[in-house]
């Protein structure tokens, strides 16, 4: 019985040494998915030529539903830097919010990886126009 207690106590001590276990937090092992791309078609006049959205997405989809997303929306004559967050819902929806440039947000809730989004201004939240993202 004494031996049993010693063994159990040792195992419990070992378990507590594993990082994160003592705090009931999962260990993350993020991956980066590079050059993930969409074709963009939008009603926003200023973004009419910005037809390519290319991002890297970083996160641990094994242990989490969250991703950091960052990249570029390319237009004729230039581009906008984009940065934001995405998460995967159990209903199969890919939700993504991206800051585009310095005062515009691209907000997407797409069933699968293609679908409808909208551009909003960050100041008032007014809708600038809609967009369709097509996963390449």
């Amino acid at each position: 019985m004494k031996t049993f207690r010693v063994v159990v106590a040792s195992l419990l001590a070992l378990v507590n040494l594993i990082p994160g276990v003592a705090h009931a937090v999962g260990l993350g092992n993020p991956n980066t998915y590079t050059f993930v791309g969409w074709s963009v078609s939008t009603t926003v006049p200023q973004l009419a030529t910005c037809t390519d959205l290319r991002v890297d997405a970083t996160g641990d989809l094994n242990n989490s539903t969250l991703l950091t997303v960052y990249g570029v929306q390319t237009c004729t004559g230039g581009a906008y830097l984009v940065t934001g967050t995405a998460f995967v819902s159990a209903n199969g929806v890919f939700n993504m919010n991206l800051f585009v440039g310095t005062s515009t947000v691209l907000q997407c809730s797409m069933l699968g990886l293609s679908g409808g989004c909208q551009y909003l201004t960050t100041g008032t939240g007014a809708v600038l126009g809609t967009a369709v993202l097509t996963f390449k």
Binding site: F4, N31, F35, V36, V72, T74, G77, G78, F135
Partner: protein, 210 residues
Amino acid sequence: MAGADASGESSRKKLVNAAFFIVLVVFLGLLSKVSGLFADDDRGSAIALATKPLVSETKSTPRLQERVKPENEIGPPPQVELSGVVGGAEGQRLAVVSVNKSLEAVVRVGDTIFAASTVTEIDQDSLTYRHGSNLVRVVIQDRKALPQNKASSAQLPNNELQVPAKENILPGFIANTGTGGQQSSVESKNGNAEFRRAFENKVNSLRSPL
């Protein structure tokens, strides 16, 4: 009496062993949950425990390996225009260059100006860079006369170099980015296939009962 003690002792030992076994199984289960050894499709498989790598995906490592490409795959040399050579604060020569018609940058010997191109020499009227195994020398270009009116961008022959008018862009627009983050000729693949797989696996795991 002695026989009864002996059988009692034997039963205690069996109980201890059984308890130890149960604790060991619980511990291994906890360990596997923490380290993510069990993927969704391998749930409950003891063989997966033995063979699954600790890192569930190493997608970023192959990506790193893809960048080490043989010389014949590094693509053509960039189009470099040398606007001038100036002296730096430490007495070194600095060259003002435009690579592939992008905005000018100041470079010094040893700087990488594009993908596989590195500056090897700067003298008073030229710049030499190495692209793969080739050395390319560029001399100072004659300065173009600045256009007199505001619509100077419209005079450029290549439509892709036209910077949109202010009312046609949103705040944060970065002009003349060249490829603007699009894939270079070196990286012809995108990450969509792998991302789609990861996304679908995640949706399936969220929908599956625990």
